[in-house]
Amino acid sequence: MVAAVRSFLQVASTEEAAPPLRVVQIEGLAVLKIIKHCKEFSPALVTGQLLGLDVGSVLEVTNCFPYPIREADDEIEAEGADYQLEMMRCLREVNVDNNTVGWYQSTLLGSYQRVELIETFMNYQENIRRSVCIIYDPSRSNQGVLALKALKLSDSFMDLYRNNNFTGEKLREKNLSWVDIFEEIPIKVSNSALISAFMTELEADSPVTQCDYDRLQLSSGPFVERNMEFLIECMDDLFVEQQKFQYHYRNLSRQQAQQQAWLQKRRTENMARKAAGEEPLPEEDPSNPIFKPIPEPSRLESFLVTNQIANYCNQINGVSGQSFSRLYLMKALHED
């Protein structure tokens, strides 16, 4: 009888783990705001804050506001925080949910996997239980695709990052590879009934929209060119990382060889000493610099670079697919 009745405190403390985030539900309003902000300032990269509600396994984003571009960092830190508080307070007065659920940023051709992103994620994660980052790519949207992505760091990666431990062994333990860093979450768009009534009413009558014009454009040249440029740069970065690893391995094997040589020498010495009847020397000598363990370079950078390269490859694939369809269409039209 007594065991069945749990105090409120107990219930509160044994709160179950939140259900995993499955879907991000954005309102059309937030989508339009993000697009407008990112487009206005492209090609500069801008960020902003997402506001909404966290309901079960759905993260609802109902509104957002942009951050001003910061020139220098020092004095403007406080201003940035002031601006944020001011905006949240004002939005609260008009009944907008002023619950931060994440942030959005614009990107150029998908090159967003940087260390800063991870750091920002960790910052957010400390304060808010579930946060998400929305990435919008205005240059890709000019091709007719709505390039909106919702990202989250995977939990296992976050644990590793907190311990700042990226050696090969740890990663093998957790079975973590470069695909596991970011998790992409599917996005759903929702609109209130009023706005969908308005949009249905105000929709222009033409059967072909601007979106179609964008998609059917034959010139995908510049976009693909820049993609390839970025890809090549990233390959260079990857190469540098590989070099670091090779260097490390070489050092490690050299050190091991040295250790073996030293051990051999010690053993022969010991044999000689035993023959002479003296105390054998220990077989290990921690003060000898040969035995100092060489730190393994962190694999974080290489993972990020790998992610980026994969991203570029995907984009190129997508664009190529589209171009094929367009080219075949042209061919067919011409034959007629």
Binding site: E27, V31, L32, K36, Y67, Y83, C90, V94, N95, V96, S141, G144, V145, L146, L148, G168, L171, R172, W178, K188, V189, S190, N191, S192, L194, I195, S196, F198, M199, L202, E203, A204, P207, V208, T209, C211, D212, D214, R215, V224, M228, M235, Q242, F245, L252, S302, I309, C313, I316, G318, S320, Q322, S323, F324, S325, L327, M330, K331, L333, H334
Partner: protein, 321 residues
């Protein structure tokens, strides 16, 4: 047009001037205006001073409408309508481009309206930190038509910016359809004594290009389950193109068989579009070259990915000892 009065000496009297909308420029409108006034029962011999009505028009981005609707849905329970500021810029040809908006908490009583001006200034400053080019161009309110309180608010806004634009968004769908109207005001004065404020409707141009880019499907439905990826979108576009071509075929067939009278303009359009397909003799070669280029890129990207997985195996999975 509607005109509403500011408080007269006897508050129970409200003079509403109903003037028909001028369809052309100034001289005619003056005539109509004078005619209407002479019909009025008021015993005042007015010297009607119209400022010349320029062909002002307002361009509204879809974000503004979304914003307004969202604020309306979230309004506090006792408020009947939502009032807020419009931000944007004035283009060189005089068109007012309305790009952003924010709501202002307000209280409305029978005669008076109280706006939270400090909130208005704070929000303005915050917005201008992000985008200093957006300035106040007017204000909006939900609800149909212009009411008495609106004149007071409009006067407040005309102190902030010259010639503010008043946008009404009819969220109640009063006439059975959505109406978004914009007004500018002119002050009617009798010699020195201000008499009334006349709101003159101006043309509203709803720029849906942005919304179209995003995809009207996404913005129209109440829930959209999946954002379309590139190939889906391509497929939809091509289907639309196909249906367009089909309808053109149908039209041409109908005209040839005499079912529909031929319209020369449409015929010329069709001829133009068909002729605009370039008759390049080596189009085949060009197309093939492009296809080969794209294939090459696909190949490169696949190689890169193979390289990536190989590198990963070497770096992570390999054990030295």
């Amino acid at each position: 047009m509607y005109a509403a009065c500011r408080g007269l000496s006897s508050p129970n009297e409200t003079l509403i001037l109903h003037l028909p909308r001028p369809r052309s420029k100034s001289p005619l409108s003056r005539e109509i205006g004078a005619g209407a006034t002479s019909r009025m029962a008021a015993s005042v011999d007015t010297v009607l001073q119209f400022s010349s009505s320029t062909e002002l028009s307002a361009r509204v981005q879809p974000l503004v409408i979304f914003n307004i609707c969202d604020c309306y849905v979230r309004r506090p329970d006792q408020a009947e309508r939502v009032i807020g500021t419009l931000l944007g810029s004035i283009l060189p040809d005089g068109t007012v481009d309305i790009r952003n908006s924010y709501a202002i908490p307000h209280n409305e009583f029978s005669d008076q309206v109280a706006l939270d001006i400090e909130y208005h200034h704070n929000m303005l400053l915050s917005h201008q930190k992000v985008n200093p080019k957006e300035v106040i161009v007017g204000w909006y309110s939900t609800g149909f038509g212009v009411s008495g309180g609106s004149a007071l608010i409009h006067e407040f806004y005309s102190r902030e910016v010259t010639n503010p634009v008043h946008l009404t968004v009819d969220t109640g769908f009063n006439n059975g359809h959505a109406s978004i109207k914009a007004y500018v005001s002119t002050n009617l004065s009798l010699g020195d004594r201000p008499l009334a404020t006349q709101f003159q409707e101006i043309h509203v141009d709803l720029r849906m290009v942005e919304a179209e880019r995003v995809g009207l499907d996404i913005l129209k439905k109440q829930t959209v389950d999946k954002l379309p990826n590139d190939l889906d979108g391509m497929e939809a576009t091509m289907q639309r193109l196909l249906s367009l071509v089909d309808s053109v075929y149908e039209y041409v067939d109908n005209v040839v068989e005499g079912r529909i009278p031929a319209d020369n303009n449409i015929g010329r359009f069709i001829a133009d579009s068909v002729a605009s397909i370039p008759k390049l003799s080596d189009l085949d070669k060009l197309v093939n070259d492009s296809i080969q280029d794209h294939l090459l890129m696909l190949y490169l990207s696949s190689i890169t990915r193979t390289q990536l997985s190989l590198a990963e195996k070497l770096n992570t999975a390999a054990q030295i000892l």
